[in-house]
């Protein structure tokens, strides 16, 4: 085995230094009847070239040469090549949680930068070192709102990503939380007339842009929530939108969670991604997850440490703010390098390209006979089109033309069987968009 440095002879010599002859003697604490006498059942070791070839064959069975208009929580964006180059430095990827700050200043400083960038984009006061992803981040936000308000009722817009809602349900079902879904209007945004916030409501939970791509009126939602002493929790699956959209913090949100995948993280069939989590300073003590803070050493030199750890499970155990232990370290680094490379202007330019291309596509599609935009609210890079046939069948037909046309909404919203969720990012060329429109017209 090439990953084990010591030769069999060296290992025998080490055993001998312990006064042992056979390696099996080290396992005598395991009762003999529990020990295996045969192989595990994986098979023989596979050599490096054979294994790479095998994985290449498998990967070739996955469609990545199709023109895709899939979004719905995972987005295709250009990824600067320097990200992979930098995260491949093994001082980053073979290190662990920065428990010893003197040997981990690299990790600690980039996490501090990451926290700052998340605050800048979301308009919030404080952000943690990341959570697993957007969906679990939202579940954590809901549990946090329950702790902050000591209330148990949650009003969750039915335009929050359906898979996020499923995760929230799993996390909250045994904690006495009552979850109610709030419907949407013809505009595609939350129906204020069925939003009944009362003194038991812990939080109003919305996504913006929402699952249909529509932008919610966060300022009005914040006012409505705050009036009843409830919090506004905002989920963002497409944080690139923050390059042009008003930040949820400036609109009055109390907790903001976002899926950081758009910031330089490969689609990778759904993970690993990086959950962004930000809140108001006054709720800091109730926030889950790791935090890095600035301080000085005994010579007065600036440095960074993990801080406010008393919120966490390794100290507070069953009273911790969360069971989360790891953050998404390396993927927080990817997001940090992305935002550093794109910078203030690049994030804005990418966001504007998404905005313009999506509107170009939406305009062209809605001019087709029988097609229309389903909702009237403003959108960023995703929108729902209504078509004169089943959207599920339409996506099947498009696959024949090597186009993945989007998400047929029927699987999440059974009454929307004629509706397709389309996402257009900066990676779609005008030609690809035109081909897509053409293919739709010929269905």
């Amino acid at each position: 085995m090439r990953y084990i440095p010591n030769s069999p002879d060296e290992r025998r010599a080490m055993l001998a230094s312990l006064g042992l002859e056979r390696i099996e003697e080290l396992f005598e604490q395991i009762p003999p009847r529990l020990r295996l006498d045969g192989p595990v059942g994986i098979g023989s070791p596979v050599s490096e070239p054979e294994l790479i070839a095998w994985f290449r064959r498998l990967a070739a069975e996955n469609a990545t040469d199709y023109q895709s208009f899939l979004g719905a929580g995972a987005y295709s964006h250009h990824i600067p090549v320097i990200i992979d180059s930098l995260i491949s430095r093994s001082e980053f990827f073979t290190a662990y949680t920065p428990y010893q700050p003197e040997l981990s200043q690299g990790t600690l400083q980039y996490v501090f930068e990451f926290q700052t960038l998340v605050c800048q984009l979301t308009g919030m006061d404080v952000a943690n070192a990341s959570v697993y992803d957007g969906s679990t981040g939202l579940a954590e936000a809901v549990l946090m709102a329950q702790r902050v308000t000591r209330r148990d009722k949650f009003l969750i817009a039915d335009t929050v990503h359906p898979q996020y809602r499923e995760v929230v349900k799993t996390y909250t079902k045994d904690l006495g939380a009552e979850v109610r879904y709030v419907g949407h209007t013809e505009t595609g945004t939350i129906d204020f007339s069925s939003l009944h916030i009362d003194k038991e409501t812990a939080a109003v939970v919305v996504q913006s842009p929402n699952f249909f791509g529509c932008i919610e009126d966060l300022a009005a939602l914040a006012d409505a929530a705050h009036e009843a002493g409830a919090l506004l929790v905002v989920a963002i699956t497409e944080p690139m939108s923050l390059g042009v959209l008003r930040s949820p913090g400036s609109a009055g949100a109390d907790i903001v969670v976002a899926e950081g995948q758009s910031f330089g993280i490969p689609l990778s069939y759904g993970g690993p991604y990086c959950g962004l989590f930000a809140t108001r300073e006054k709720y800091l003590r109730q926030m889950p997850g790791r935090l890095v803070g600035e301080t000085v050493d005994h010579h007065g030199r600036r440095g960074y440490v993990l801080t406010l750890s008393t919120r966490e499970q390794h100290i507070r155990r069953e009273k911790a703010t969360s069971n989360i232990c790891t953050n998404q370290g390396l993927f927080a680094l990817m997001a940090t390098v992305y935002l550093a490379t794109m910078g203030r202007r690049g994030v804005q330019e990418v966001a504007r390209q998404n905005l313009n291309k999506a509107h170009y596509a939406a305009d062209a599609i809605s001019k087709l006979d029988g097609f229309a935009l389903r909702y009237s609210a403003p959108f960023f890079n995703e929108f729902v089109i209504r078509m004169p046939r089943s959207a599920t069948e339409a996506t099947r037909a498009l696959i024949e033309k090597k186009i993945i046309g989007g998400v047929a909404l029927e699987c999440y919203y059974p009454d929307l069987n004629d509706s397709l969720l389309v996402c257009v990012t900066e990676t779609a060329s005008k030609r690809a968009i035109d081909d897509f429109v053409d293919a739709l017209s010929k269905l």
């Binding site: 003590r285 750890s309 008393t310 100290i315 507070r316 009273k319």
Partner: protein
Amino acid sequence: MANTPEELSYTKDHEWVRVKGDSATIGITDHAQNQLGDVVYVELPKVGEKFESGEPFGSVESVKAVSEIYMPLGGEVTEMNAALADSPELVNEDPYGKGWMIELKIADSSEIDGLLSAAEYEDYLKEEASE
């Protein structure tokens, strides 16, 4: 050796109590702050909250530990030391003075008899140390 003022009463959870009429001031002992190390955060209840004796009413945090603080006597919180929010180090520097935590209106004055005297508390500390 920890400082244990004669005029105060104590609990086995290392709180001190200064009784004045039907009100009592509460904090943690010099021994407790010493064991905890540098205090970085003190969580206190709001004025008006009511607690039974023995109930946790807040917590004291050092960098790597959290200790709950328990009510020596039942009653309603009438005042809390707001200065601790910005200066938690007062608990270390002056545990019996500026590091006080809450003041309460005693619900049942008969509970006072259950508290330890300074001598009893010191004996208790010796007992604990020998274990």
